[in-house]
Symmetry: C2
Subunit: 219 residues, 2 copies
Amino acid sequence: MELPVAILQNTSLFRGMTEEEIRHLITCLASPVRRYGKGAFIWHAGEKVSHAGIVLSGIVDAVQYHDDGSMHLVARQTAGGVFGDLLMATDQPSPVSLQATEEAEVLFLPLDEILTDCGRRCPFHIRLRHNLLQEAADKYWQLHRRLQYLSEQSLRRRILLYLQDCRRDMGGSYFTIPYTREELAKFLGVNRSALSRELSRLQKEGIIDFHRNSFRILQ
Amino acid sequence: MELPVAILQNTSLFRGMTEEEIRHLITCLASPVRRYGKGAFIWHAGEKVSHAGIVLSGIVDAVQYHDDGSMHLVARQTAGGVFGDLLMATDQPSPVSLQATEEAEVLFLPLDEILTDCGRRCPFHIRLRHNLLQEAADKYWQLHRRLQYLSEQSLRRRILLYLQDCRRDMGGSYFTIPYTREELAKFLGVNRSALSRELSRLQKEGIIDFHRNSFRILQ
DNA sequence: TCCTTTCTGTTGCCAAAGCAACGGAAGTAT
DNA sequence: ATACTTCCGTTGCTTTGGCAACAGAAAGGA
C-alpha cells in the first residue's frame, strides 16, 4: 500500500521530520503495515510486545477485561495515534489487550531497530528515539494528572481541579470538555448523577457556569 | 570523588553492564556528580529538566506543593534510584519539585548525550537507551496499577485488589506490605480508620488474615 | 526498665456520594 | 413532522466512608 506520509508527519514519533526522512526511516526499520478487521485483536493481554504501532486509519483501543467479564477502556488511538510504545519497552507481559474497535491499518515499528543504529547513521534515527521517549513521558504525566484528580477526596475538588486544568490547557475563559457526562463521571471515578448534582450546586453558588460541554469558571 | 560503580551496576539504567563499560559510559557522557544538603532543592516545580539523576547516597524525593501550602510526596528514591528520567524527556515544565530529604549525592546524566551517539560507537550506549526506556515504561505501568486501585468504587474492592497484586508480586501465601496503615491509606486514597475498619471486617468474615504488615488471603 | 512516641484497632456520629427512577432536552433517523 | 435514542438534570432513599476521639500494642530511647 501507499504510505500516508502526511499523516505520519503529524504523529508524535515522526514529528519534526521531512517526508523524505520519514520514508528513509521506515525503510531503515523495515516497518510492516497490517490491516485489522473490526473487533480483531492486535495483541492479547499477557503477551509480550516488541513493536509500537501507529494507527494509519480506523480506531485501536487498549482495553482490559476483568475477571467478572466486564471490560474497561484504558486508551483510544485514532489516525496518527501511537500505541505499544510503553508496552514494548518493558519486560512485563502486557496488562491490556489491543483491539481494533473499527477496521484499522497499523504501521509497526520494531523496538530493536529503533534503538540500534541502522548502520547508515541516519540523524533522524536519533530524533525518532527522542520522540519516542517524549511520547512515553507525556503519557506518564497525563496519567499522573488523572491520578491527582482521583486523589482528591471530595467530588467538588475533583471537578474544580479538572476544570481548572482544562481552562489552563485550552486558554480562554470559555472552554469545552471532550467528554459526555457519563464519560466524565467515569474519568473522575464518580457516579454520574452525583456529578450532575455537584455541577448544579457549583452553578447555583456562582462558582462555575456551564451548558452541556461548554464551561466557564467564574471566580 | 570515587564513583561507586558497584551501586551503579544495580541501577535500572546501568543494568547488564560491566564495571568497565559503566566507567567508559560515564566518561562518554561527561556526567557530573553533585552533593546536596538536607532539604536542598535539586529542581523546582515549573522548571524544565534536561538531566536524569541517579542517587548515589541519601534520599531524593519528588514532591508537590499545593496552593494551600500542603505538600504531597509523589516518589522517593534512595541509593541506586533514578529520577528525572520522565521529566527530561518532555517539553512540559516539571509538575514536581525534586528535593534532597536527606543529604544526598547525585550522578547526573544529560539527555542529549544519552540520545546522541558519542562518536566512539560504544555498544552499551544502546543498552543505556534501552534501559532508560524500560525504566520509563515500568514507572508508567506502576502508576497505571495504582490508578486501578483508585478506580475501584468500594473500599473493600480496593483493598482486595491491592492485596491480590501484592501476593502475586511476592509469591507465597504469606506476604508483607511495605506501608504503614497511614501510608497504605494514603496510597489507596482512603481514610485510615475506614481502612482499619474494613480490614477488620474482612478478617472477621474469614476472607483475609493479617497482623500488622503480614497478610494472607484465605479464599 | 521506664518513659515517650508512633502505630493500629475500635466506635459513634454524620455528611457525602452511590443508586435507581423519572422526565425533559437534544440530536438522529424515517 | 414523528418516532426513537441518547444525554442530562433532578430527587428521595440508602449506604459508604470520612472524621474525631480514645485505648491498647509496639517500638525506640534514656
